[in-house]
């Protein structure tokens, strides 16, 4: 009889031997360099670079088919990269997959649950699979069930659970071995608004102890949950920054909406001219408005505060200022702008 030994005896007792890391708090947890993945002729991911420091939540944002899932699958050792390298906690996904797998929790797009199992049975199975010692297992199952709000269904068959519960069982499965890195592929897909809110809170509460990458195409999710955003389009990183920087970098420092009452004889062109003349204004755009009103959107250069001057320009010109308010630029607009610019550049190429 052959003896099969999966891991060295010491690592059976201790599923998470401390990896050799530098004693810096901001140590890089995930590092991706020149990552490329090709399927036959189709290139899913091309030359992606990014780093994630320990304890951060990074959002992968991109349209469907942008390469988010492929990147995540490479990080979880499910797929090998065609070229380039990816490492988790200092371990290369190609050279030391077992070490990487011990340190990641992964929730794929559809939760990987077995419908014929009960919730606690399933979580125990995954726990053993991830190498949790038998003595600790019941306690861990209990903990993650509480944490992910599935404790009330622990003896139910997974087949009988709603989509929201299944998703949370999937999340519980991902964190059961307390992994350093969590990789969540669209964790809130298919949930109702209340569940989405709870799941986001849960994810936020996991940050710090865990480094998290989550993918989504829902923009508010990134704004609310993530510290940083990596925007992917057509297999390439088109932007990578903190949520706040990205918002202010792509547009001027401030965007202002102005509504002016259009009395008889009011020349829209003249108003526009007057607004343009204000120092620091970079762009004025006239928009559709209700009848009797003229609506402008104005962007200023970074660092310029133009609201007072704009008001003065309108009043000074003898027009009635109806409304003046700052406009928050949503990630949605940035996203569309970036991906559209990318598409346009792609088309321009011969």
């Amino acid at each position: 009889m052959l003896t099969f030994r999966s891991t060295s005896p010491s690592s059976i007792e201790e599923p998470h031997p401390a990896p050799v890391r530098l004693g810096i708090r901001d140590a890089t947890m995930i590092k991706v360099e020149g990552l490329t993945k090709r399927y036959n002729r189709f290139t899913a991911v091309q030359g992606i670079n990014f780093e994630v420091p320990k304890g951060r939540i990074v959002g992968f944002l991109g349209p469907n088919g942008a390469g988010k899932t492929t990147t995540m699958r490479i990080l979880t050792c499910f797929l090998p990269p065609t070229s380039g390298t990816a490492s988790v906690a200092g371990f290369d996904v190609l050279k030391q997959p077992m070490e990487v797998k011990k340190r990641i929790g992964y929730l794929p797009e559809s939760p990987p649950v077995y419908p014929e199992m009960e919730v606690h049975e399933y979580l125990s199975f995954v726990g053993r699979l991830k190498g949790i010692p038998a003595a600790e297992l019941p306690k861990r199952v209990e903990e993650v069930s509480e944490r992910c709000n599935v404790a009330d269904v622990r003896t139910k068959l997974i087949a009988k659970l709603s989509k929201g519960y299944r998703q949370r069982v999937g999340l519980a499965q991902a964190i059961i071995h307390n992994p350093d890195v969590l990789i969540l592929d669209e964790p809130t897909a298919g949930l109702d608004p209340k569940q989405i809110h709870e799941t986001r809170d849960l994810i936020r509460s996991l940050a710090g102890a865990h480094t998290i990458i989550l993918s989504t195409h829902i923009l508010p999710e990134v704004e609310q949950t993530c510290d940083e955003v990596v925007i992917i389009s057509k297999g390439q990183v088109v932007a990578r920054d903190s949520v706040r920087n990205l918002t202010s970098r792509l547009r001027g420092q401030e965007a202002v909406a102005i509504e002016v009452r259009a009395a008889e004889g009011t020349d829209a062109g003249a108003v526009e001219q007057a607004l343009r003349a204000v120092a620091g204004v970079s762009r004025v755009e006239r928009r559709q408005a209700r009848s009797g009103l003229l609506h402008f959107e104005i962007e200023s250069e970074p660092g310029q505060h133009v609201r007072a001057e704009l008001a003065r320009a309108v009043v000074g010109g003898g027009w009635d200022l109806e409304e003046l308010r700052p406009v928050a630029v949503s990630l949605e607009e940035i996203f569309l702008e970036l991906t559209a610019a990318d598409a346009a550049a792609g088309e321009a190429r011969p």
Binding site: F4, Y106, P112, E116, Q173
Partner: protein, 255 residues
């Protein structure tokens, strides 16, 4: 070892959580019960005939009852095997749970061995249930127990080999029907290859006949353990499991 057992246990649970296991066991209990009744009825009528003609009664229970029963199970088992092995990987691939297994700190061959072991155990359980019939022989006659045990061992070895091939087929598709169908075809071919040996003696025919599962099982049914048969089954098992592990690994590269 812990991982293999964990996966094996999960598979067995899946078999018994769905009707699959109960259905297979019930079906085979009925079929095997019919065989047993049939063989006994034939045995009784043959002995009555022999008695009427004044010849000595054929009283060899092993030769008249145990052996045909084992041969029957060997052939009928060919139908059982695809039904057990088809879901092993195809189902995980379809539902996406394969991603969980392959991103967990478990080696590919541990996954393969765990699943295969569960399939072999389910086969053994079904065989055990069907073998209860033999208890009647021991209650009302005195057959030789050892050849029966050797025969059962042969059946397990045969199933281990074919289930390993079935496991491999299951890794190649996400469709259970295809996995079952192809496995059935493979099992059937490995049975009928024996026929070639009946009329042809060329080298290729000998090779084909050698590949036949039934030819290698037959000695077991007589209570004979021949090294060459054991080697055949063990090699086939290893081959199937090896292919399964490689196929699983290649999922990563192809997909």
């Amino acid at each position: 070892m812990r991982n293999i057992w964990n996966i094996c246990r999960k598979e067995l649970k899946s078999y018994f959580a769905s009707p699959i296991a109960y259905l297979l066991m019930a079906m085979y209990a009925i079929i095997f019960g019919f065989f047993f009744w049939n063989v006994i009825a034939y045995f009784v009528s043959a002995s009555l005939q022999a008695q009427a003609m004044g010849r000595p009664m054929p009283m060899d229970l092993n030769e008249m009852i145990v052996r045909p029963m084992l041969m029957n199970f060997s052939v009928v088992g060919l139908f059982l095997i695809p039904m057990i092995s088809m879901r092993l990987f195809a189902e995980e691939k379809r539902s996406g749970t394969i991603e969980l297994l392959m991103t967990s700190p478990v080696r590919d061959w541990e996954i393969v061995l765990g699943k295969w072991l569960a399939a072999v155990l389910l086969y053994a359980l079904t065989l055990g249930l069907c073998s209860l019939n033999f208890l009647f022989l021991f209650a009302h006659g005195n057959p030789d127990g050892l050849p029966l045990l050797v025969g059962l061992l042969g059946l397990i070895l045969q199933a281990a080999a074919l289930l390993a091939l079935g496991t491999f087929v299951s890794t190649t598709t996400r469709n259970q029907i295809i996995a079952g169908g192809v496995t059935f075809a493979v099992c059937l071919l490995l049975w009928v290859f024996e026929w070639v040996g009946g009329y042809e003696t060329a080298a290729w025919a000998q090779v084909m006949a050698y590949m036949s599962v039934i030819a290698h099982f037959e000695p077991f049914s007589k209570g004979v353990i021949d090294t060459k048969d054991v080697v055949y089954f063990v090699t086939l098992t290893y081959f199937g499991l090896f292919l399964s592990a490689r196929s699983l690994e290649s999922l990563r590269w192809r997909s």
